[in-house]
Symmetry: C2
Subunit: 241 residues, 2 copies
């Protein structure tokens, strides 16, 4: 039987305040939970309909029924298991590789997609402005499909980080150089801007290489690509060469 305290705890983890207070976050679905279990993340508790996990986690498992899972799940269609993991301690930023820096990304789905893309293209670190959506937000965790176990996110003062960064700082702007014809280095920071406002003026000043994805269509006076699809195209260009 699911205790009232556990229900209360899980519900509270939808909110950043309580995730920070408890240093815990929620992962749902068989595939994602398996990915987190085989990673360095430490599991606190597994609530599952059937026990199809290895013996290693026996003391963490609580068998629940479908009604109980519905009660605690953040998903419209709960998927067999919900687990609580510990938020890991923060590691050090390694500036010797290509990193993506996010300037106020608000949408959980966009952040999740960008984490998946970094994982796909072998970028292990993402630097986020402090007001970027939290990566342990249930919607972000869900949409990363386990990629969050292989990509580290750092929430920091983006202006300070870039100011002290020694290398190329890329950002996309309408008037930037055609990315297909630009030199792209193997090390550097790629800044992606807010969904509505793009890169903020104070960060724009720190961009050393303005790039642009050229449009091939007809009318693009006001139109731009979504930040997640722009990230896909940019990472593909950086890595294919």
């Amino acid at each position: 039987m699911l205790s009232k305290n556990n229900i209360k705890l899980i519900k509270s983890l939808e909110h950043k305040k309580f995730r920070i207070q408890h240093q815990l976050f929620v992962v749902e679905g068989l595939k994602s939970v398996h990915e987190f279990l085989k990673s360095d993340f430490q599991v606190e508790k597994i609530f599952t309909l059937t026990n199809n996990f290895t013996n290693n986690f026996e003391d963490k498992i609580e068998i629940i029924n479908e009604d109980e899972l519905k009660k605690i799940s953040f998903l419209k269609a709960p998927n067999q298991v919900l687990a609580i993991f510990k938020i890991p301690s923060i590691k050090k930023i390694d500036s010797n590789n290509l990193v993506v820096a996010l300037d106020t990304i608000n949408d959980p789905g966009n952040l999740g997609t960008i984490i998946r893309l970094c994982d796909w293209f072998g970028l292990e670190q993402i630097i986020c402005s402090k007001d970027t959506v939290d990566c342990y937000n249930p919607k972000v965790v869900q949409s990363t499909m386990g990629s969050l176990t292989r990509v580290q996110l750092f929430y920091t003062d983006l202006k300070e980080f870039i100011s002290s960064y020694d290398g190329h700082v890329y950002g996309t702007f309408m008037e930037g150089n055609n990315i297909y014809e630009s030199e792209l280095s193997k090390k550097g920071v790629i800044v992606m801007g807010n969904e509505a406002n793009g890169i903020s003026p104070e960060i724009e000043k720190l961009i050393t290489q303005k790039i642009a994805i050229p449009a091939f269509g007809k009318q693009h006076d006001t139109e731009s690509l979504n930040v997640a699809t722009a990230t896909a195209i940019i990472l593909s260009e950086f890595k294919r060469r």
Copy 2:
């Protein structure tokens, strides 16, 4: 005053059945409505908080208040105007260019993003399997940000269309050729598959060029890119050359 009949009509247009019956669909938000008004689409009615439209549409406009807009809007945050447009008659498929073909795309957001991408990269037509989500679904219209005015969608028997197509048919598969090293033609069909199941077996048989976006990360036994980001990378590769 908003009539009960208008409220009922608008609400009904959330469903494909009634969109087909009335041959109408809904567009919301100032920017999107303006894009549709300046396109070939024919407007039926404009419900707006303030009349900031040109005289051309005077007889179509009904001024409503915020409560009324909330009542008819499909958005969490209604944006000043909701308009009803006529579904245009279907034009002819022009197979002399690059076209994207969608094999059972279910998610409105994904379809919207793919329409925006086609617009960006200058692809004017998308061929959809009959079970792909309807492009006049309010969520799709919303997420296309006006791109739907420049990209035509055809819902048809995909197997039949591809079978009779004379040219290269591309599809992404794990075992496909590295897209960065493949020859990509200027004319052809690029098939994108379902979110969960990829390209269906009957369509796979018709693919003449299997391509793959190589992963640069570590662990990708089961992982794949989201269909919209994969489309972004593929279209970028086709068009940059």
